[in-house]
């Protein structure tokens, strides 16, 4: 693919390049024909300042040979590879192809390492020492930017060590999440709930679901209003992993704790995204990652 809009520039670049090489050759030829006067004592025969003489030592002829080899190398290179304008080169090389080939080779080299994880059940992968080490490195390099180096997440980034799952915590769910990503959508529900006061009441009701400090009066006023939320969050607020609706009773506050945080959520909504990693990793790598993450939540004591 040419970056030039007119073919003039391609010819211009090619022309200058080839003319320069030709000019170097001509220079070499002319300088080779040059003759210098040398006296018998190997000086130029002139005397300056009383006793200063200039030697005239010839250059080694193999330098000319090297020069010619350089020119031949250059011309061969320009024939085989891109260099003369938009001419692609007989070797048909491109950096895209080289990248693809290197990726393919790297995957082929790694395949034996990952081979045994391709069919191993996720809980077994989680217990495998080598898989844990590989998973830890994969996680550190690719996932820790959002989920933290210790996988405990932060505001808006789920904690992967607490065995609380928005979309289900079974191995298949983890693989699906990593491969295709997730988009968590909390719609703007304030108009459906009612007035600002109504939203505040619902917030207090939600707080009460988890046994948190709340205004009891407001909570009882908010309970009937919760019906619009039950569609996704369930009648008791236990959540629905199929649509990714959080369990509101488990005291895990991904987007912040407190009355204001809940009011914010209901009033403004939220779209939270887990990017799909399917194109970045091979299926075996995703299994190893899933095993690592599953292990974080299931193999160690759950840390609150």
């Amino acid at each position: 693919m040419s970056d030039f809009t007119s073919s003039f520039w391609s010819f211009y670049v090619a022309g200058i390049t080839l003319c320069s090489i030709l000019a170097c050759l001509l220079l070499l030829w002319f300088s080779g024909k040059a003759r210098a006067l040398t006296a018998s004592d190997n000086t130029t025969g002139h005397v300056w300042d009383g006793d200063l003489r200039e030697m005239n030592n010839p250059l080694p002829r193999w330098w000319v040979g090297l020069f010619i080899i350089t020119v031949l190398f250059g011309l061969t290179y320009l024939y085989l590879y891109p260099g003369l304008g938009s001419y692609g080169g007989e070797a048909k090389w491109s950096s895209h192809d080289q990248f693809d080939r290197e990726v393919a080779k790297a995957n082929a080299d790694l395949a034996p390492l990952y081979a045994r994880f391709e069919t191993m059940p996720i809980p077994d992968i989680a217990k495998d020492e080598q898989a844990h080490a590989i998973g830890e490195r994969l996680f550190m390099n690719n996932c820790s930017q959002c989920h933290g180096s210790d996988a405990r997440g932060g505001n808006g980034f789920p904690n992967l060590t607490a065995n609380h799952w928005l979309h289900g915590g079974e191995p298949e769910n983890l693989i699906e999440t990593i491969t295709n990503g997730r988009i968590g959508q909390m719609p703007v529900m304030a108009p459906a709930v009612g007035s600002a006061d109504d939203v505040k009441n619902v917030a207090n009701y939600v707080l009460s679901l988890g046994g948190n400090p709340h205004d009891s009066l407001r909570a009882s006023l908010g309970k009937p209003k919760f019906a619009v939320c039950a569609g996704c969050h369930g009648p008791e607020g236990k959540g629905n992993p199929v649509v990714g609706a959080p369990n509101l009773t488990d005291n895990v506050w991904l987007h912040g704790y407190g009355e204001n945080a809940i009011i914010n959520m209901v009033t403004k909504g939220m779209v939270n995204q887990m990017p799909a990693q399917g194109k970045k990793f091979s299926p075996a790598q995703i299994r190893v990652l899933a095993g690592y993450v599953w292990g974080l939540s299931n193999l160690h004591a759950v840390v609150q």
Partner: protein
């Protein structure tokens, strides 16, 4: 123009001179280039020749022998580029230890200045790989093609069975030695015994093959054919030697006052009567010279200071019964002022040399101490940047870090991580980690602080990673961020 200035009037008129050497000689047109004329150095034996062969033996014993030494389970000297570890006997060097390579280069440069200030091109004539391999290849050439005159005759002769046999044998020996040299070179990077096995089963990696042939071809070309062309035209040492020498540097000198006028004479000629100097004009000094110069013209840039001419002149002086030392290592001052050997050497030990030696000594000492006091592990702290801070269950403030712990030994190490810098600051994740031999491992560390322990903002803290088995510990700085 100040009339009272002491400026000297220097004539700038260019005067054509018809040639100082031979009056009446014609100037001739010559080409800018000249074809390489092969130099056939004559064999020589003597003190300096023995020194050179001793150094050839020593350097090549080290070069060819070192890869075959073992240290525990591994090769003693191995530069594992793939795993980014350099093993030199008991040292495990990481890329972070690059400063030692810098130190080595500084030491090499200072040694160069020191040796050159003392005795000129010692390196060139005795230890440089170009000289060493040329000597070896020349020796092989002598063994197959004969001495100087035999070699010259063989080259001039037409092709015959004898010539094919001799030249063929020489090429075979040269190519074998070159390939062995290339193989040894690659053996510093790929364990040599593994490499040998791969060669025997003809399953060598393509890069190993490439470098073996590349290095072998370089050896073959440089030692077999290029020889003095490297010293004359490629090596910068010749060109900047004039900046490193002074009038008290030992150089190969021809005692012109003693030697001239030169000329043939019979054994019993009285020198004073005949008006002759010690030089019998045998031209052996020119025949043995590997760079093809005549040392009687004085120090030239081509002279690599090998002392072959000194050796051969001494042997000739012995034969004609004169004193040795017509061509010898002396200094410019020594020759001009006719000093004795003791006087020359006393002047060699001058302030410049002593200063170089002092600096060299202190740098070497500093490097040795640094290596001896090296910590068995290194630590690098990288704070998680994705989230400034976290509120952990229990209301504590939490920052997450990654510590890269690099084990620079060949045994597994158990290390404890602690942190300090704020009241109540502590490590909340597992504080004891195990790092395997030569492994560099990233460890996620959570650091917690009670809620109101400090003001919002960035606070400097320090991690201390201490070995459980020894007193070694490393402290690294970082920051703890408290959000508003």
């Amino acid at each position: 123009m100040n009339p009272s200035s002491k400026l000297q009037s220097i004539p700038i008129a260019v005067v054509a001179d018809s040639g100082a050497a031979l009056p009446g000689a014609e100037a001739e047109l010559t080409s800018l280039y000249e074809a390489h004329k092969k130099i056939y150095p004559r064999s020589v034996s003597g003190l300096f020749s023995r020194w050179r062969w001793g150094l050839v033996a020593l350097t090549q014993l080290v070069f060819y022998g070192l890869p075959w030494l073992h240290w525990g389970q591994r090769q003693a000297v191995l530069f594992d580029l793939g795993e980014r570890r350099f093993y030199i006997f008991n040292l495990v060097l990481y890329p972070q230890d690059f400063i030692y390579l810098t130190g080595l280069l500084v030491l090499s440069a200072l040694s160069l200045f020191l040796f050159t200030a003392v005795a000129g091109r010692l390196w060139c004539g005795y230890a440089c790989p170009q000289t060493v391999y040329t000597e070896i290849f020349l020796w092989l050439e002598k063994k197959t093609e004969g001495d100087r005159s035999a070699r010259m005759r063989l080259d001039a002769a037409p092709w015959s069975a004898n010539k094919v046999l001799r030249k063929g044998a020489k090429q075979l020996l040269w190519i074998s030695l070159s390939l062995w040299t290339g193989f040894t070179f690659v053996g510093y990077f790929t364990p040599v015994q593994q490499l040998a096995h791969e060669v025997l089963v003809l399953n060598v990696g393509s890069w190993e093959v490439f470098w073996c042939i590349f290095y072998g071809f370089a050896t073959y070309g440089n030692a077999g054919y290029m020889r003095e062309q490297v010293c004359k035209h490629m090596c910068p040492y010749a060109r900047f030697q004039s900046a490193m020498f002074d009038a008290d540097t030992l150089i190969v000198s021809y005692d012109e006052a003693r030697g001239e006028p030169r000329g043939a004479r019979s054994r019993h000629t009285d020198l004073a009567q005949a008006g002759l100097g010690s030089c019998v004009d045998c031209s052996l000094c020119v025949q043995v010279c590997p760079t093809g110069i005549d040392i009687r013209n004085g120090l030239q840039y081509e002279c690599i200071g090998c002392g072959a001419c000194a050796d051969v002149c001494d042997s000739v002086m012995d034969k004609v019964g004169y004193a040795r030392g017509l061509v010898k290592y002396s200094t410019q001052n020594g020759v001009q002022q006719n000093w004795s050997r003791a006087q020359v050497l006393r002047h060699v030990l001058r302030p410049r040399v002593l200063v170089y030696a002092a600096i060299l000594g202190s740098v070497a000492l500093a490097m040795a101490i640094s290596l001896a006091m090296r910590s068995p592990f290194k630590v690098d702290v990288v704070r998680d940047r994705g989230a400034l801070a976290r509120i952990a269950p229990g209301g504590k403030l939490e920052n997450v870090y990654r510590l890269q712990i690099m084990n620079a030994t060949e045994v597994s190490q158990d290390l404890r991580i602690t942190v300090e810098g704020l009241p109540g600051l502590e490590v909340a994740s597992e504080p004891v980690v195990t790092v395997d031999a030569t492994q560099a491992r990233w460890v996620a560390v959570r650091v917690q602080l009670p809620y109101d322990a400090a003001t919002p903002g960035s606070h400097p803290i320090a991690f201390d990673v201490a070995s459980l088995e020894s007193a070694a510990h490393v402290a690294e700085k970082s920051v703890f961020i408290i959000p508003r």
